[in-house]
């Protein structure tokens, strides 16, 4: 009994107090930071993604405090794209966001080092050192980045963002760091579609790695050899 109690105490001290699986009462302190043993990625199954559904876009806007506007000057971290093959009339609908490249062009061109790739493969902008030059927006082949033109108020505590900086999809880094899934993935699941699958590309046993092995996973503009972390199935 005593041994078991001591073990439980030690487990709680190590991992925070688990209220339910995947839900912690308080965050465990993570002093060592992220590791390159993990590479976060996402697989989009375009055969399950339907035209007209924008659940992922709304979830992203809500999670990150975006206005939801679609003018060229509004921030859009994820867009729904509708494609039609003219000759055979086949239509496709798919979300496009920052592809979290292993060799990101935005990082190559950034003059200040604000654009960077985290050890776990998530490409981010450090707004503390971004000077708003927008070179990265021009370098990105996916049109994934937005510039904040106007002063903002009422930002989310977890998602600081402000005027004069470039921003893009962060794979919901604030959620990933506490062990949760990105908001778009959860929203897609809640819609009952499960077109988005998030996980560790480096772990051969993870659901995403298995599905990619079995069903194949294409990159958009694979010719650029950027080794994207966001892959597509059925395009």
């Amino acid at each position: 009994m005593n041994g078991r109690r001591a073990f439980l105490g030690a487990a709680a001290a190590l991992g925070g107090v688990a209220v339910a699986p995947g839900l912690l009462l308080f965050e465990p302190a993570r002093a060592e930071g992220v590791s390159s043993e993990v590479r976060w990625g996402m697989l989009v199954d375009t055969t399950r993604c339907v035209e007209g559904c924008t659940a992922c876009v709304s979830a992203c806007n809500k999670e990150n405090g975006l206005s939801g506007g679609t003018r060229p000057t509004d921030s859009q971290w994820i867009r729904k794209i509708e494609l039609r093959e003219k000759t055979i009339g086949r239509t496709l609908s798919l979300p496009v966001m920052c592809q979290h490249c292993a060799e990101p062009p935005c990082v190559d061109v950034c003059p200040t080092g604000a654009s960077f790739k985290r050890a776990d493969g998530i490409v981010l902008v450090d707004r503390h050192i971004c000077i708003g030059c927008r070179y990265c927006m021009m370098a990105c082949p996916y049109k994934a980045r937005s510039f904040v033109h106007q002063p903002l108020t009422d930002q989310k505590p977890d998602v600081p963002r402000g005027q004069g900086c470039v921003e893009s999809c962060t794979l919901c880094v604030q959620r990933v760091d506490r062990g949760a899934q990105p908001a778009c993935v959860e929203a897609c699941k809640a819609e009952g579609r499960e077109a988005l699958l998030f996980g560790d590309l480096n772990d051969p046993q993870s659901a995403i790695a298995r599905r990619m092995r079995e069903a194949g996973a294409k990159q958009i503009r694979a010719d650029l050899q950027l080794d994207t972390g966001v892959r597509y199935q059925g395009i």
Binding site: E27, P28, A29, R30, A31, E32, G33, V34, F116, R118, A119, D120, L124, D126, R127, H128, P151, L152, D154, Q155, K156, P157, D158, P160, R161, G162, Q163, C165, V173, D177, R178
Partner: protein, 117 residues
């Protein structure tokens, strides 16, 4: 000569007002929490360095849940009236920074109030 006299008159008119008004002393309302992460004299002097050091670790290396945490600062020190640390001249951060004449950039991007529940 006339302009000099005018200047002297102006100085007489303006000076007394300037001397009596002064600058408001900072108002530091007690925080919600029991104890800060360091003694007040350390916090007063070192909080900018603490935050700057931590922000790089958190953004670039993904270190979360550290002792120094702006979100926690805001949570604890947000004023009861405005719910913020920097919305009015009486709020915790703003009252001191107004007194010292140092502009705070933090809250142009970071939320100056805790998560709305």
């Amino acid at each position: 000569m006339r302009s000099l006299a005018a200047l002297a008159l102006l100085a007489l008119l303006v000076l007394p007002a300037g001397v009596t008004a002064g600058v408001d002393k900072p108002v530091l309302a007690p925080a919600k929490g029991e104890k800060c992460i360091a003694p007040p004299e350390v916090m007063r002097r070192e909080h900018p360095d603490m935050l700057k050091h931590q922000r790089d670790l958190t953004v670039h290396q993904g270190v979360r849940g550290a002792k120094v945490n702006l979100e926690q600062c805001v949570e604890c020190h947000a004023s009861k009236q405005s719910g913020s640390v920097a919305a009015t001249k009486q709020d915790f951060c703003e009252s001191c920074h107004a007194y010292a004449g140092v502009k705070i950039d933090c809250f142009e991007c970071h939320a100056s109030r805790g998560e709305k529940k």
